[in-house]
């Protein structure tokens, strides 16, 4: 198993995870996870509810720091730089590793201010530059045409699907290297889901994407690589085609075919 998993991302990995263990207080959530993520590929994380996908994802941009009882062991490197060291600037890390959440969470500000939020807090003041980045991000999130006339309106007036794309635009406006997506389509209707999936396919040109999903078809459609998690363990990790058509592991097969739990 390990030999196989190490194969993916062995050349030019963006993120390398080494023997990662994670505990909420005394309860272990992740056991000895080791995997690499390939640059400019889409990796899907699948697995039953509660198996630790979100926990793992949040380790990658240190969002778990905010949980008082969380404890992390092991090493994660971003472009070869250690993430879990006191020297690391978390702010900088989160700028390089963006995140899109399951429930869209626009700020109660205008659409424009939402998109440029990351830039503003990074200290960009130049109005023209902000406007340019805003347009670029909204275009790449396939939202520009819908909102270009109402940039100053509140983002809370958007539809659910638009809000989620706004959150994606917000994440790419700061130009991250990696985008983490935690079930980005779970609250969306099929049409909006299709748009977001389309979007992911376009974004793969420039970004490394790691996406958690419960939708097998979605994982099969959008991802290059797939990782199957089960009870805090990385059970199988490989090319999406292989994992879906010819899974090596019995548990994986059961899960994918829906014979699970």
């Amino acid at each position: 198993m390990t030999a196989k998993t190490m194969e993916i991302g062995s050349s030019d990995p963006v993120i390398e995870v080494d023997d990662l263990n994670f505990h909420y207080g005394s309860a272990a959530a992740l056991h000895n996870i080791s995997m690499n993520f390939t640059r400019k590929k889409v990796t899907a994380l699948i697995g039953p509810s509660g198996c630790g996908k979100s926990t793992f994802l949040r380790c990658l941009n240190r969002m778990n720091d905010m949980i008082d009882i969380a404890r992390v062991e092991g090493r994660i490197r971003l472009n070869g730089d250690e993430i879990y060291t006191p020297k690391l600037d978390v702010i900088e890390l989160r700028r390089r590793v963006g995140m899109v959440f399951q429930k869209s969470n626009p700020f109660p500000k205008s659409i424009f201010e939402n998109v440029v939020y990351g830039l503003r807090i990074a200290g960009v003041r130049n109005r023209a530059q902000l406007a340019e980045s805003c347009e670029k991000a909204l275009r790449s999130a396939a939202l520009w045409d819908e909102v270009k006339d109402r940039l100053e309106d509140s983002a809370l007036g958007l539809s659910g699907g638009q809000m989620q794309r706004l959150c994606i635009a917000r994440a790419i406006a700061v130009n991250p290297e990696v985008i983490l997506m935690d079930e980005p389509c779970s609250a969306l209707d099929p049409k909006s889901t299709a748009r977001v999936e389309e979007l992911i396919s376009e974004l793969r040109e420039n970004y490394t994407i790691i996406i958690v999903t419960h939708n097998m078809q979605q994982a099969a459609r959008v991802s290059d690589h797939t990782a199957f998690f089960f009870e805090g363990l990385l059970v199988e990790y490989g090319l999406t085609n292989q994992v879906f058509i010819k899974p090596k592991n019995k548990q994986t097969e059961d899960y994918i075919t829906g014979r699970f739990g």
């Binding site: 702010i91 969470n105 109660p108 990351g118 807090i121 007036g157 700061v174």
Partner: protein, 532 residues
Amino acid sequence: MQKYWRRGEPFVWLTGAALTLTLVMAAALIIVVMVNGLGVFWPTEVTQAKFQDGTRVMGEIIKREPLPSGEGDRIQFKTGNRDLYGLDFRWVDTAGIIELDHPVEAVVLEREEYGNFYGFLHEINAPDLDQPAGETLGEQLSAVRQSVEKRQQEIGQLEERVAGLSDRMQDLRLELQKLEFEGYPPESSAVKEVRQRQSLLREDFDTLVARHEDRRRELRQIQATFADVSGTLKTVAVADIVRAYYPNDMAWWEKAVFYLSKLKELFLGEPREANTEGGLFPAIFGTVMLIFLMSLFSFPLGVIAAIYLREYAKEGPIVRVVRIAVNNLAGIPSIVYGIFGLGFFIYGVGGSLDRLFFPERLPTPTFGTGGILWASLTLALLTVPVVIVATDEALGAIPKGVREGSLALGATKFQTLSRILVPMASPGIMTGLILAMARAAGEVAPLMITGVVKLAPALPLDGDFPFLHLDRKFMHLGFHIYDIGFQSPNVEAAKPMVFVTTLLLVLIVLIMSSVAIHLRNKMKKRYTYGTF
């Protein structure tokens, strides 16, 4: 029957009744205050009662009720003329009355002293004025009053100059005190120099005071004589007449004008006659300024403390205990806060300030005595738990996703707080502030030992450097109600004023909280999530 219970109808009735009861009680309170308060300034007709034995009584009818014996009615008259009769009010039996009428020439005087006068104008005595213009005595009186008013203004200016000089003399006295305290001997040049300036100033002061006295005496020579209903004559200085009007001879619009002028006096005038007459301006000003200062202290303190509690402190038993403690702080009786304010702020902090900065004035305290600063700090302490609880809850109600969304974009905790969380919590924070203000506006007990007075010589904010005098004592509407309603020598006469003051206090609280609620709703629209 079972169905009836199953549908829960008794419970609906019970809850509905409870709500109705509270609403009715609140409405009744407000209506009583409004009816009594709003009518006070509308001129009441003056009624004259003639009795079989030839005596007469004249005044405003206050109320009419059956006799305790059960036969016939009795009427309460406000007869005024306290200087003549000793009492303002009088009960008479309707049995003895042969006639009730409303003489048109009846005049009501509001005076600087002794309350209202009800009677008739008899003659005018203005030795140094030319024959005053006007056909009737009444017109002449108003002409005389106009010229008297003009002279009173001049005298007022004189008084201001006297007050300015007296302030400067006070400064010199303090300077001298300081020099002596610092050990300069009486024959040293510094002390001598101050003394010289002092004596120069005193000469000016004395001449000015003498001139003021002369003017006043001259003015008081202008007099008018009135007769009461039974013909007793009473001569008063025209300068003592605040208002003279003929309520039985006024059209409704004249009464309206009169009403407005009374309102103007209420809002802008100074109190007279042990606070039972005149305006409430110093009390209104004191109340508003107190609430304002209180908000200035408790608002930032409460918000910042709540931010620490919710955002920075580690969730755990200690934080939980602190939260419970803060919630309970709001339940401590306000007098306890007052005593704490007296002990800590006034004697502790104020006393230390005096020892440090004004040792030469001791034992006369400067800050070591009640004042608006200490009172507002005490109130701030009293209301800060409300602000903390409201802010804490508002912050806690913000969805976790928003917080994480901001942090995931590389925002620091502080940026997240200042750009996202605090604006989003602002409607809740405003609610807390509204509650705090409403509570502070209604508190009287702690003020009574931290600096409220029944009559303050000067406002805490005025044109004299340094403009803001936080050490000064102040007046307050709530205390005013207590003072005139229960402490004044003439409670019956003060009753209308109690209602007016209550109405005003309710009005101020209402205005302040409406403004705050308006602001809150605006913020709510901007910062809350719509459903999608």
